[in-house]
């Protein structure tokens, strides 16, 4: 009964949503046709090439045009790690070992060990080239974190130093914030670019964008690893296993 | 100011008249009651003898200040209400009429209604201090019953006020003189309601639970003897006179001289007395609810009649 009602309810909501979006249309220029409307994305695309010399427009948006969002985003991640720690915190004598249902086979352990360095390398590549190609700090960070996940899954006793994670995380965060504040130099604004922008499609181009993205990469990697590590260290339940 | 002495003399005369008439009526009633009960009964002047005896008796004990003040309060109520009732029609045919219209004025009816209940409170206080439970019981019954008959009584009077737009007893008398119709005929419902109330006021059977000699040892007066009882008795007599006179004034055209007064009051007096002789006693709540049934109905009818 409840299910039927919920389905009906969802049908209503879904109908209205679908109606709206289908009205908007797919793949066309959906902005209101009016002289007043100048979609910001056009400005972004234009400015990315002309002023920032960053080839990946998404990156320029994420880090520069809407860098403030990204700062918030990074904070959200930071907070979720903090929250996780706070929610799962228990006094030391309660804390147990990592729950292990079954040991990883030697294929997994060996493979993981093999894959770990290339994964780190790939991650680093992705966030260093964030302003040139698809990818960026978040993506790269996630890739690095997968590496750690692999190691944690493969080795029961693999530990990551909490302190090290915090230090990396904090430094990365501070870098972001300080670079943002450095924008005030020369009468600029927060997060304003104060470095030379270089030429398009160069590794060293885009001013502060790559630096921030690298910081973000480190930070995301550290934070995600932290999340995984914290959750993995959660002791299994007492009743069932 | 030159009248003040005459006023005082008139007041004293009124009091004496009321005392004598009241006492005599009381004696007559005892006689009649006895005859109806097939007894010999005391002579009609027995009350005077009793009064004389009580008056000359020494007071041996008392129960405190209120014990003294209670009867005095009672007397005040009787005398003061007497002062406000035109015993005879002012300016009537007899030369002495003006003596008996002491402090009458335009709104005296309301005042009378008010002051007439005052005595019971004084009495109650006096009785209360004696500490005799019978007194207190009698008092509560009396007060309850008073509340009972007050409604039809006030209704009856109000209906008349409504008809003639006045609150003066003298005006009522004058109206009856002019039209030649007694108000008991002009508004019979008011008369009936008032009569019931009058029966209640007299504390004769069936409304005599207050005194109820057999069970309460005479109720409120039970601790009083000698001069106390004398005061109470005389004030009771005066008060009976006040009630009768008032009723006659209002419903029966007033009295132009003493003879008419005596005839009318005595006739009126006989109604509750004779009814009382042959009826059984009501319990207090029965009495109260009785007053709140038919008399109240007639009272309302009277008001309705007056409005229409």
């Amino acid at each position: 009964m409840k299910k039927v009602l919920v389905i009906l309810l969802l049908a209503v909501v879904g109908f209205y949503l679908a109606d709206v979006f289908i009205g908007i249309g797919f793949g066309n220029d959906h902005f209101v046709k009016s002289d007043e409307i100048k979609p910001v994305k056009d400005i972004y695309l234009q400015q990315t090439v002309e002023n920032l010399k960053v080839s990946n427009a998404v990156t320029s948006i994420v880090v520069n045009f809407r860098g403030f969002d990204t700062l918030g985003e990074v904070t959200v991640l930071f907070l979720s790690v903090t929250a996780l720690g706070s929610i799962l915190y228990r006094k030391r004598h309660h804390a147990g070992d990592r729950s292990v249902l079954f040991s990883a086979s030697s294929i997994v352990t060996a493979g993981s060990k093999l894959l770990f360095p290339p994964i780190l390398l790939l991650g680093a590549y992705v966030f260093i080239h964030g302003h040139l190609s698809p990818g960026g700090g978040f993506q790269g960070g996630v890739i690095i974190a997968t590496g750690f996940l692999l190691m944690l899954l493969a080795y029961e006793n693999y530990t990551v130093s909490h302190n090290a994670l915090s230090i990396v995380e904090s430094f990365a965060g501070i870098t972001f914030a300080v670079i943002g504040l450095m924008g005030f130099m020369n009468g600029g604004t927060f997060l304003q670019n104060f470095l030379p922008v270089g030429t398009l499609n160069d590794l060293f181009s885009g001013g502060i964008i790559p630096i921030i993205y690298i910081a973000v990469g480190f930070k995301v990697a550290a934070e995600l690893t932290g999340v995984i590590y914290t959750v993995l260290n959660e002791k299994g339940d007492q009743k069932n296993g | 100011m030159e009248h003040i002495l005459i006023k005082i003399l008139g007041a004293i005369a009124t009091f004496i008249l009321a005392f004598i008439v009241g006492m005599t009526y009381g004696g007559v009633v005892r006689k009649i009651t006895a005859r109806v009960h097939n007894r010999l009964g005391p002579p009609f002047y027995q009350n005077f003898i009793d009064a004389l005896k009580l008056f000359s008796k020494k007071t041996a004990i008392h129960h405190g200040v209120m014990h003294f003040l209670g009867p005095a309060f009672l007397m005040v109520s009787s005398v003061v209400s007497l002062m406000f009732v035109p015993v005879l029609i002012p300016g009537g045919d007899s030369w002495y009429n003006s003596w008996f219209s002491n402090m009458i004025y335009d709104g005296d009816l309301i005042f009378l209604i008010y002051i007439m209940v005052f005595g019971s409170l004084g009495m109650a206080l006096g009785a209360g201090q004696t500490g005799n439970p019978n007194s207190s019981i009698g008092i509560t019954r009396g007060l309850s019953q008073m509340v009972g008959y007050e409604i039809p009584w006030v209704l009856a009077l109000v209906s008349l006020m409504l008809m003639y737009k006045t609150t003066s007893i003298v005006d009522f008398i004058n109206v009856q003189q002019e039209t030649g119709t007694w108000l008991m005929f002009a508004n019979p419902f008011a008369f009936i309601a008032g009569l019931f109330a009058l029966m209640g006021m007299f504390h004769y059977s069936p409304f005599d639970i207050i005194g109820a000699p057999a069970e309460l040892a005479s109720g409120p007066v039970s601790e009083n003897g000698g001069k106390f009882l004398f005061t109470m008795m005389s004030s009771g007599s005066v008060f009976s006179f006040v009630k009768l006179t008032l009723f006659v004034d209002i419903f029966m055209g007033g009295a132009s001289n003493l003879v008419v007064l005596v005839i009318k009051t005595f006739t009126l007096y006989m109604i509750p007395v004779l009814y009382g002789i042959v009826s059984h006693r009501y319990r207090t709540e029965q009495a109260v609810t009785f007053f709140w049934k038919w008399p109240l109905f007639f009272g309302l009818l009277a008001v309705l009649y007056a409005v229409l």
Partner: protein, 495 residues
Amino acid sequence: MVGTPVLFIAIPLLAAFLIPLLGMIWKESVRIVPGLVLMYLMVLAVSLMGHVAHNGPIIEIIAGWAPPIGINLVFNAFTGFLVTLIIFMGLLVWLYSYRFKSNVEYEPARKYFILLMMLVTGSTGVVLTGDIFNLFVFIEITSISAYALTAFYTGRDSAEASFKYVMMGSLASTMLLIAIMLIYSQLGTLNMADVASKIHLMDPTLKAISFILFVVALGVEAEIFPLNGWAPDAYAEAPGPVGAAFAGIVVKAMLYALIRFTYTIFDLSGAFNLLIIIGLLTLVIAEVAAIRQDKLKRMLAYSSIGQMGLVMVAFGIGTREGVFAALFIMLNHAIIKPLLFFSGSYLVYHSKKKYISDIDGMGKLAPFTSLLFALGAFAIVGLPPFAGFWSKLSFLVAAADNDMVLIIALILAVSIVEIVYYMRVVNRIFFFKRTTGLLARRPTFNAYIVMSVLGIIVLMIGFFPDTVTGYIQAAADSLFDKTQYIHSVLTASIQ
């Protein structure tokens, strides 16, 4: 000027990233640094308020891109008023918690203070930002801090409360995103002022639907009626100061967002009626639920929701007086409710279940705390000469000017309900015999200070309401003046 508005965000974030490092060196710093930051922000807020009063709104451009291209922060009389309020409350909550958490171990304490600071920062960001999507980000910052703080105590119920909060919160953020996307897909911009200036071009149906989605999304956090199921649980299970922070900080910021959408961004006339309807629903249901509570904090939580309903009704009046009244109620609520939460949590400190009956006869054991609680109760039900009266009065005056007789009657009837449950508690404190053997806990020195400050403010507003009305009036004017807002934002350039 001591700084620019962006420091409201940047400094706490920097501090938040720094605290783990500092904590490794000196453990006490995790408690002190947030306080220092908040103090600095308080100074900043006050000085910026002074600046705004003379020189007009400050539009902070970020990353060098003038609106509508980049993100901007708007610090005008209205947002400044709220930011000052939020930071002031944050400071008090910090001061109150400073010792409150002294028996807590280092790790949780560090997290607590970071989360608290982020809660304040997120709320500040919500108020300051001039960008719809940025608003979403700050709402999420606030929410996640709030989730974590709700579940801060390691009991089972706090997790339950928090989980409900998360469920509702993430549904809300979904809807918020859909709404943002709808706006963007039509107008091609995310800047509030820009959107506001172009909203008339939008298709009415889409406009209505996106507004509805905004209402539902922000309504979850602003605790409007059918969406506030999480709120009483969260208030009741969160630590005392956090409950106070919710009432004094988070809700205010979220309501701000809702109001910003209603007043500035959208031009829907029916929106005000909707505000009134949901406000009344919220008010009535919450107060009605509050009267039947047997736990103190839960009762306060429902009462808080009810007050938010009242604020919404006041905003729904849609006149300058209405906005004034709404802001006044918000201010009073932001001061009184934390006072109640602070003193209330000391009154039930030793009680296991935190039942109201556990505070019987507390007046003798803890006279100061009890007195302040009573003061708060008297003030919040609007008894003169305390603070709540003036806001209620200005609300009623505003409503009467719009001939809302029935609404006034309804609200006053609900106020009677409110009186009943508050007075029941006050009676218990002062006029009941102590039944349980539980002793009172002496408030810490900091708590004394915090509660006294709040009490003094309550009295001050009660006796001299004009000390604050100037700011409120300016704030109301600022919110009301939509064209001025749009103009000032869109013409902003880097100073």
